[in-house]
């Protein structure tokens, strides 16, 4: 299977010369098992160009089926959806997967994104057939030749990580998440930053530990681990409650899970290409010095990684 990055940025799209190389579009990754329909993970602004490229294939004539896995519904992970061209072609089928909520149906959350007064084309008027699938943690299912599993992360309003296995290759998409050490992020709004390294209530510590164990287990032996590394250690210390990790947190999960390639992802909007180069180099140096067996790369728009026996 092939993994291609269409948007690598967190929080908000950042156009400009300083992001030309890594790209300014928000989160979107295409996973394509050999000869099969695409599995799209997250629908930030990167999905606009992906959608256009898909219209050159069967989707242009309304004969396509796409699966979209949403980590969570924060804007930077869904804001490209109304600009996804296959939606506007009759005959296409799009299946959208995201975590089940207790309070609202997924369909209602997505519908409100395109309703008056926010967007001129309501979901109900789109020509493609759109189906919503609500997931619970630990769910596993087949999409064509691919096998998908998911587990929850430590992020405000809760995000899901996904693992996709196909063609003898495997990948995990882990964004957005805070490390599992200083604060439990669920539904409550946390206004003041908790103390990093402070002592946690044992019940909360246990919940975080089991969440992390679930993630490490899901990542076991994968070829590619894509990980939210929006923060530097200093930024994390100032904002542990914002729900993002540092490269060091990603390295620790990568080590424990015995993965092959770690991919830094969900870059901070304020990060210039030069700063991101530096973060990549520092992370690579750290892993080299520690003798880690995995490779470290940083996601950029247009990057394609081939996994398993594809190509």
């Amino acid at each position: 299977m092939k993994v291609r990055f269409w948007g690598v940025r967190g929080s908000v799209p950042v156009p400009g010369r300083h992001t030309n190389r890594y790209g300014g579009n928000t989160s979107c990754v295409e996973v394509r098992p050999r000869g099969d329909w695409p599995i799209i993970i997250d629908a930030g602004t990167g999905i606009r160009r992906l959608g256009k490229s898909m219209m050159e294939s069967a989707f242009g004539d309304g004969g396509g089926t796409a699966h979209v896995l949403i980590s969570h519904t924060h804007w930077d992970h869904i804001q490209g959806l109304p600009f996804f061209s296959p939606f506007y072609q009759e005959g296409n089928h799009v299946h959208v997967f995201a975590r089940q909520r207790h309070d609202t149906h997924l369909q209602a959350v997505f519908a409100s994104q395109t309703e008056d007064p926010y967007f001129p084309v309501p979901l109900s008027s789109l020509k493609a057939e759109i189906e919503f699938h609500e997931l619970v943690e630990g769910a596993h299912f087949e999409l064509g030749r691919a096998r998908v599993t998911c587990t929850r992360l430590n992020h405000p309003w809760i995000a899901m990580a996904y693992r996709v296995d196909a063609d003898g290759g495997s990948m995990v998409y882990c964004s957005d998440t805070a490390p599992f050490s200083d604060v439990l992020l669920e539904h409550e709004f946390i206004s003041t930053p908790p103390q990093v390294g402070g002592v946690l209530d044992p019940a909360i510590a246990a919940k975080l530990a089991s969440m992390r164990a679930g993630l490490v287990a899901m990542c076991q032996g994968v070829d590619l681990l894509i990980y939210d590394t929006q923060f530097t250690p200093d930024e994390y210390r100032a904002r542990p409650h914002w729900g993002h990790s540092t490269p060091i947190d990603a390295i620790q999960v990568a080590r424990e899970a015995g993965i092959k390639t770690l991919c830094l992802y969900h870059h901070a909007p304020s990060r210039s290409d030069e700063q991101q180069d530096l973060i990549l180099r520092e992370t690579q140096d750290l892993c080299r010095a520690a003798g880690d067996p995995f490779e470290v790369i940083a996601a950029y728009e247009g990057l394609e990684v081939v996994l398993g026996d594809d190509g």
Binding site: S11, V12, P13, V14, P15, G16, R17, T19, N20, G23, G24, N25, T45, R48, T73, H74, W75, I78, Q79, G80, F83, R101, T104, V109, S112, Q113, D116, P117, Y118, F119, P120, P156, W157, H187, F189, S191, W242, G243, P269
Partner: protein, 283 residues
């Protein structure tokens, strides 16, 4: 008055080397009055750059205040709010004027964007800055930031978008983005709002060919912009809100075509600028 342009794009931010010159951020401009007051018009992602530029001044100390004029609540006009650094600094104050049946409905629209399904901010009340949200009465002038402002709705697809006229002394600036006129162009009331403006910033999303294919979306072509500018006898026209698929070379061509259109309509004396991020224009 001085105009600062922070975001020129319509619909969705368009990052990439092909938009480096005009910029890929969505709609946001600022007016600095002669007295030094700040008026922000629309809150697309261009608002991020404006926010950062304000931090060395009063807004960095929590002593800033500004007027925000909101044309309408489509995403590309509000999506910068949660990333506008001055809103996180307690003490800053914003008075926001927009279009809704009531002020509380307008506040509800802004809250919808901050809803925890979509944003880690949960609600406007979690921002450090305070907001005074007010619905504009169409056609009725009001005072804000020491200048006279009038808002009137233009047709915009299935909805409307406010155009604003900002007047200070004998100078006037009109913001008219996101407008798809009925056949015959601007209504008499809108022409009155634009009339004789020192600078008219106008929706210029499309070429006429592209507009023809996307009529229902409610955007202007450069022909509509040139027509409005000449009929209202404005001093200067600023093109704005380019389609997300237009590369810099496409916008260059749009500007050349707009110049020719102005000249052909007897508007050879009207100055023309294609808005780009970073543009500053003395009004």
């Amino acid at each position: 008055m001085r105009l600062h342009v922070w975001g020129v794009r319509g619909s969705i931010p368009a990052p990439g080397p092909e938009t480096n010159r005009y910029g890929g951020n969505t709609s946001c401009v600022a007016i600095q009055t002669a007295a030094g007051e700040l008026i922000i018009i629309d809150m697309g992602t261009g608002l991020l750059g404006l926010g950062n530029s304000l931090l060395p001044g009063d807004f960095g100390k929590g002593k800033g205040h500004a007027t925000i004029l909101l044309s309408h609540a489509h995403w590309d006009h509000i999506q910068g709010l949660g990333f506008f650094v001055p809103v996180f600094i307690p003490g800053n104050h914003f008075t926001l004027f927009g279009h809704a049946k009531s002020s509380s409905m307008l506040e509800g629209i802004l809250e919808g964007q901050m809803n925890p399904n979509f944003s880690p901010l949960y609600t406007l009340r979690n921002l450090g800055a305070t907001f005074d949200v007010r619905a504009v009465i169409p056609g009725e002038p009001f005072e804000a930031s020491g200048v006279r402002i009038t808002g009137r709705p233009n047709p915009h697809g299935s909805t409307t978008a406010l155009a604003f006229r900002v007047e200070e002394g004998d100078r006037s600036f009109v913001y008219a983005s996101d407008v798809g006129y009925e056949d015959g162009g601007p209504s008499p009331e809108m022409l009155e709002l634009y009339r004789g403006a020192s600078v008219l910033l106008h929706d210029c999303t499309y070429t006429p060919e592209h507009q023809e294919k996307r009529r229902n979306r409610g955007f202007s072509s450069y022909v509509d912009a040139a027509d409005a500018a000449t009929r209202a006898a404005v001093g200067h026209l600023v093109m704005f809100h380019y389609d997300q698929d237009y590369a810099d070379a496409d916008v260059d061509a749009l500007r050349d075509a707009c110049r020719a259109e102005l000249d052909a309509r007897g508007g050879a004396g009207i100055g023309l600028t294609a808005a780009a991020e970073g543009l500053e224009l003395e009004i």
